[in-house]
Amino acid sequence: MVRSPPADSVGLVTQHKAIFEEPLALDCGRELPRYELVYETYGQLNRDASNAILVCHALSGNHHAAGYHSEHDRKPGWWETCIGPGKPLDTNRFFIVCSNNLGGCHGSTGPASINPESGKPYGDQFPVVTVRDWVRSQARLAARLGVTQWAAVAGGSLGGMQALQWAIDFPERLRHAIVIAAAPRLSAQNIGFNEVARQAIMSDPEFHGGRYYDYGVAPRRGLAVARMLGHITYLSDDAMRAKFGRDLRGSMSFDFDEVDFEVESYLRYQGQRFVQDFDANTYLLMTKALDYFDPAAHFGDDFSAAVRPIQCATLLLSFSSDWRFAPARSREILRALLENEKPVSYVEIEATQGHDAFLMPIPHYLDAFSAYMNNVARELEG
C-alpha cells in the first residue's frame, strides 16, 4: 500500500475472532466440539441491523476481503474491486461481514488448529466439512453479531455456491442472494481438476498423510503444483494467449529445470507465492467441499425442488469466457429459479478474463452489481 489508502478503499482494517463453545454437528456425522471463526467487518451496522451483508470467499480466499492490514501491505483484500465507499458493496450504506470458512488456514478453526482431544494439530483428523456446515457455522456468527436477517449474502465461485446454500438452508434469514460465477454443482471435469490437485499434494513426500505439522515440514511442491493447475482453470485460453502467448524468457534451454516460456515462469511464481501463506490440508478440504456441493442431492437429485424453499431474491452473474463455471451453469440455476417463480435477475457479462473475472474491475460487471445493490439499499429506507 502507498502511504494512504485510495479514497474508495475501506483503508486499514483489523480482524476479529468469534469463539463458539457449543459443538457443531457436521454433515460427515462427526462434530466439532468448539470452533473459532475469524472475520472482518467494513462499514457500520445500522440501528435495526438490517443493512448487514455476508460475503463468502472462494477456494483460496479468506476473511480479508477488503482494505489493508498495515501500511506495509502490498495488496488489499481479495474483493477490493467490489467492497468500499461507492463500490457495489458500498460501505457507506452496508455493513459487510466476511469470515474465514471452517477448515481454513487464516485463523478460523482448521487442520492446523490444536485438536482438543489430542493436544496436537488436527492434521488429517480434521473432519471433511461441507458448504452446508459452513453456512451453519456462519448462522451462529450472524446471531452473535445481532443480525437476524442479512440484507444479502454474496460471493463468487465457491462463495457464490455458499450464498445459494444460505438461501436454501435459511430462507428467512436473507433478503438477497448474490451468486456470481457459480454452478448448481460441479461437473465431472471440475471434480477431475480438483482430484488432480489433491493428488499433487498427497503424493508430495512431505505430506506425511496430512500430519506434516508434526515433522516441521509442508508439502509445498505438491501444493504449488495444485495451485498452478487451478490457476490455469481460472484464466481463459484467450487471456493466457494475450498475456503470454508463446513468449520465451530467453532462448530455448533444452533443459527441463530451466524456465523456457513466460507462462511457465508465471505459473511457477503463482505456485511459489501461494504456498507461503496457504495450508495444503486446507486446499484438500476446500476442494472436497466444492466437490460435495450439491443442493439437489438432498431433494432427490431435483435441483428445481432444491431451490423451492428460497424466499429471497437472487442476482446471478456469469462471465462469457469463464469455462470453469461457464455461463451455462448459471443458466441452470436461473432456470430452476424461474420454474419456481422466484425473483431473479441474470446477466452474462462479456469478459475475456475467464473465471477470475469476478475479481476484476470490469465496468459492465460493476455497473450491474451496483445497480442491483442500489435497489437493495433503497429497500432499507422502506
Binding site: E339, Y346, N374
Partner: protein, 204 residues
C-alpha cells in the same frame, strides 16, 4: 413514477392483478415496474442492451440479459399468463418464430408495433422515394434496429396463417391518442397498433 406512454397504459389495463408476466425487450423496465407496483404481478423482463438491463436492476425489476433471436428456451410451456412485446417484434430476426415461442410460454400475447402502413410513412416512400422515418421510426434505413417492419394488415395475415386468434386491437394516432376515427381505416390512419391474442383452437 414516470407517466406511462398511452400505449403502455393500454397494455397495463389488460393485465390482471397477481398474474405472471414476461416482457420481451423490456427496455428500462418502466412497464414492469408499473405492473409490479400497481398490479402485484410476478414479472420478468428480457433485454439485450446492457445499460437498459442495469436500469431494470436499479428499479428492482427482475431482468435477464437475453437475445430474443435465440428464442425462449429458458422458459417452460405455459409459464406465463401474459407475454408482452412492446415495440420489439419489428426488431427481431424471426418474428414468426418468436410469436410461436411467445404463445408456447404464455397463454396470452400482447404485441405493439409501429404501423408502416400509416399514411405519412406511405407518402414518404411514394412521393419522396425515401425509406419512411417518423417519431416511431427515428432511425435511417442503414442503422435502424427495425429490420422487420409490417403493416396492420401484414400482422393480421401472419396471425391468421399461424392460427393465432386476435382478441382485441387498439390503435393510436400520431399524438399517441386513442382516436375513434382511426377505425375507419386503421391500416392507413394508425401510427401504432396494439394487439391482444391467444393460441387459436386448432393451432400450435
Amino acid at each position: 413514477m414516470n407517466p406511462l406512454r398511452r400505449e403502455l397504459e393500454i397494455v397495463a389495463d389488460w393485465i390482471e392483478p397477481g398474474s405472471r408476466v414476461l416482457d420481451l425487450g423490456c427496455g428500462d423496465g418502466t412497464l414492469l415496474q408499473y405492473l409490479v407496483q400497481r398490479k402485484g404481478v410476478i414479472a420478468y423482463g428480457l433485454e439485450i442492451d446492457p445499460r437498459k438491463v442495469t436500469r431494470c436492476m436499479d428499479r428492482g425489476v427482475n431482468v435477464v440479459r437475453a437475445d430474443l433471436d435465440e428464442g425462449l428456451a429458458d422458459f417452460h410451456r405455459d409459464s406465463f399468463d401474459h407475454v408482452i412485446m412492446s415495440q420489439t417484434i419489428q426488431a427481431v430476426r424471426y418474428p414468426d418464430k418468436l410469436l410461436e415461442d411467445l404463445l408456447r410460454v404464455g397463454r396470452n400475447g400482447i404485441v405493439t408495433f409501429p404501423n408502416i402502413g400509416y399514411w405519412r410513412l406511405r407518402t414518404q416512400l411514394l412521393f419522396r422515394g425515401r425509406m419512411p422515418r417518423g417519431p416511431s421510426l427515428p432511425n435511417a434505413w442503414y442503422n435502424s434496429p427495425n429490420i422487420h417492419l409490417c403493416t396492420i394488415r401484414d400482422f393480421e395475415r401472419l396471425c391468421a396463417s399461424m392460427g393465432i386468434e386476435i382478441l382485441e386491437r387498439r390503435t393510436l394516432d400520431r399524438a399517441h391518442r386513442a382516436n375513434p376515427l382511426l377505425n375507419i381505416a386503421p391500416n392507413l390512419l394508425a401510427e401504432v397498433a396494439i394487439y391482444r391474442f391467444v393460441r387459436g383452437a386448432q393451432s400450435l
